[in-house]
Symmetry: C2
Subunit: 197 residues, 2 copies
DNA sequence: ATGATATCTAAATAATCGTTTAGAAAAAAG
DNA sequence: CTTTTTTCTAAACGATTATTTAGATATCAT
């Protein structure tokens, strides 16, 4: 069987997630990864193939873990207005949010690479699709339960909440004034009340 | 007096603005700048001192030119709801927007560097301040003219529109589905109608 | 035309980039 | 224990990074 690994893949991915989230893909060097993950270069490349390979694995894990935790509740069959409000309150907590100074890894990556998709895995497109679809799902549930005004268009509202959350990610990332972030969240929640039946 | 410069500083800044906007600071190399600006390394460093110096000059120009063009109208004494709607419609045009595939340089930079301010010039903080303040100015004008419902809080609304616009910048940058971008803009405009007196 | 001054070209700088290689160390299988 | 397999350490790889230097070239003032 040979020598045992002195590292745990899952632990490595977790640490790499933090580093990439803080410094971006281009801003993270192999040197930094070796330092922060506490693993040798050889093992890093044996395990993930390349910096890009590690990054792809990190994006996948971020989607499975963080995006799932944040937007998964909206995708539940029973989700509705309450779940959307909880999400907005969560990110609206500004300094108390885990995204304070970090933002969202997938949002950051979308901005860093723009229209180019370096990995070809389509993480970014799926990210926008998932976020807007999760809002749409919760809104359509609410509408079917008669909780939403007939005048509202769920598709457009989903796009709207997607933009609101992405904008909050940007402000959280750069530590914009807390009052601005909180104002954004509060008005978005008020809008949520305003479209009720 | 010596030999004349074969380049125009303003032209160089304009081209550098495009390159940095497309590829970010870390993603732009001196090689790319020499290539795209059509100027030699020596002159580039003689004129701007360093890559960071050029970037700072570019950010300043972007603020003076692009941010001024987009948000300047909101800062006018006569500005109000109409100017906000025009701005939202402009960025909501998605594929037809000049930000399609590019986003906003200052928004991109805010995400790339996060809470760190490499230049120390505070461009990012001033950016958030200016954008939210421009919305606030237009909203307060409208309120003073009695165009806004008494229930609305201009400060919070300003934070909200700031987030909405930043979110649209992110989606424009990464070429998110057009329907999502347009939905965001349309609902934001509907919200604008909803808070009228 | 001459001398001074400034910008040009083009090569080279040291440092860092992502990645690989050679050999030592460790642990399983026989 | 010996062999085999795997990971480890540590050095090195070529390429690219941002920046600088030396010398040729051009334009001014005289």
């Amino acid at each position: 069987m040979g020598r045992r690994k002195s590292y745990d893949r899952a632990v490595l991915l977790g640490k790499a997630m933090e580093v990439f989230r803080d410094h971006g893909f281009a801003g993270t060097s192999a040197e930094m990864l070796v330092e922060e993950l506490g693993v040798n270069r050889f093992s890093l490349y044996a395990e993930f193939g390349s910096k890009q390979g590690l990054f792809d694995a990190v994006l996948q894990r971020y989607d499975d873990e963080v995006v799932e935790r944040n937007f998964g509740p909206l995708e539940e069959p029973g989700a509705g207005v309450d779940e959307i409000r909880a999400l907005l309150e969560f990110f609206g907590s500004a300094r108390k949010s885990p995204a304070w100074g970090r933002g969202c890894l997938l949002c950051n990556t979308a901005v860093e690479f723009g229209p180019e998709d370096p990995s070809g895995a389509g993480f970014i497109q799926r990210y926008f699709d998932r976020v807007s679809a999760s809002f749409l799902s919760a809104l359509e549930n609410a509408r079917n339960r008669g909780e939403l005004s007939h005048a509202v268009n769920p598709e457009k509202e989903a796009g709207f909440f997607t933009a609101a959350v992405l904008g909050m990610f940007v402000m959280l990332r750069a530590k914009a004034p807390v009052s601005v972030i909180q104002g954004a969240a509060q008005v978005a929640i008020e809008h949520l009340k305003a479209i009720r039946a």
